[in-house]
Amino acid sequence: MDEKVLIAKRVALEMKSGSLVNLGIGLPTTVANYLAPGLEVYFQSENGIIGMAPAPEMGMVDPNLTDAGGGFVGAIPGAASIDSALSFGLIRGGHLDVTVLGGLEVDELGHLANWTVPGKMIPGMGGAMDLVSGAKKVIVAMQHAAKGKSKILKRCTLPLTSVRRVDLIVTELAVLEPTDAGLVLKEIAPGVTVEQVIAATEATLIIPDNVAVMPVSDAVATAAAV
């Protein structure tokens, strides 16, 4: 299974019926493709819609209905238009149940850095600082390493997105949970060993006696694709 598909499938298992969810651009967006059948999850796009749906076929889009990346999207029956202030009021006020974001770095404190690489990449934080500071549950979905270097560090070296501790980190190797005591290894990917995760991680991990294997299989993907 593709690493990114694995990550998206595992994140999809965190979704609960009735939840309001914001998916970041890129890998997080693909989580929507792997939701369990029958799960009633509502998507918010911070540019102004609650109840976002996949884009309809070309020729049936509206240029005034887009996602936060500027791409055409659809709306479920019973969607709601909101302005930027209300959109972030929902995010900051704890009305958003889950946000899934990509990451450049995460550390032992559960701090996320994902908005800038000073001197190289200065896109701006957009809604990321609000999402991480305000959502009820923050899930970081990212690859474990970049260019051979661990992205899970003792301390972030890049400017932080927020000092709010994220709730879960999902990579192609492991599921990690930041706690008061540090980063706990909750799950390993199918076919991966605890030792491999430790070796691929700069941060010190807390290893419980039993580490589960991610309950993700190709079968899930098939079911969701029906």
């Binding site: 540019n47 509206d62 302005d83 972030f88 900051r92 701006g124």
Partner: protein, 217 residues
């Protein structure tokens, strides 16, 4: 009171060096004809307050490419490499602000607040130089109001008195900006007779709007 005017005249009111709020999110809900006219009239040294700087050939991006802007306050400039290039070259000042904070700052400016207290940005570079207030033992940044000389907005429908309706995600920052500028210029898709938009459908009430750009120029 008929607030309709043509695009050329509306934009002629704006002096060089003005601070402008411009609605839109990556060009969706931006006043495109007004932006084109700002380019055509060659306004200079503008300060732009907006969610983003569009793309090089889209929306606010056109003003950046034409080097008409000296300062930008925005949440995101990643879709316009020209903004980053001018910023790194020191030709353009850019203040990056969390999107929700930007919305609240603009709202504060329009609603007469001295600012708002927000947790977003605490412990990050966004907090640099900002006042921190402790509320129930938790730190909050004091984020100050933003106002502009002109707000240039897009709307779906306006009546001739200036009541506005927006369409879907084209609403974005237009709604809060409508209160936060000394002069408010709106570019609607349609202008309808007064009374056609029912009171409960009005999102921005007419008292916020000064000029409505007609379709034909």
């Amino acid at each position: 009171m008929n607030k309709a005017t043509n695009c050329t005249k509306a934009i002629e009111m704006i002096p060089d060096g003005a601070t402008l709020m411009i609605g839109g999110f990556l060009g969706v809900g931006s006043p495109h004809r007004a932006i084109d006219e700002l380019v055509r009239q060659g306004k200079k040294n503008l300060t732009i307050i907006a969610n983003d700087t569009g793309r090089p050939a889209l929306g606010i991006g056109k003003l950046i490419v034409a080097k008409q802007v000296k300062k930008v306050i925005a949440s995101h400039i990643g879709t316009n490499p020209e903004t980053q290039k001018q910023m790194i070259a020191g030709e353009l000042e850019v203040i990056l602000t969390p999107q929700g904070t930007l919305a609240e700052q603009i709202r504060s400016g329009g609603f007469g607040l001295g600012g708002v207290l927000t947790a977003t940005g605490i412990g990050t570079t966004v907090a640099d130089g900002k006042q921190v207030v402790e509320i129930n033992g938790k730190p909050y940044l004091v984020e100050l109001p933003l106002r502009a000389d002109f707000a240039i907005l897009a709307a779906h429908r306006s009546d001739y008195r200036g009541n506005l309706e927006y369409a879907l995600t084209a609403r974005n920052f237009n709604e809060v900006m409508a209160l936060a500028a000394d002069h408010v210029i709106v570019e609607p898709d349609h202008i309808v007779p007064v009374g056609v938009i029912p009171p409960d459908a009005v999102v921005t009430p007419f008292c916020c709007v000064d000029y409505i750009i007609e379709r034909s120029n």
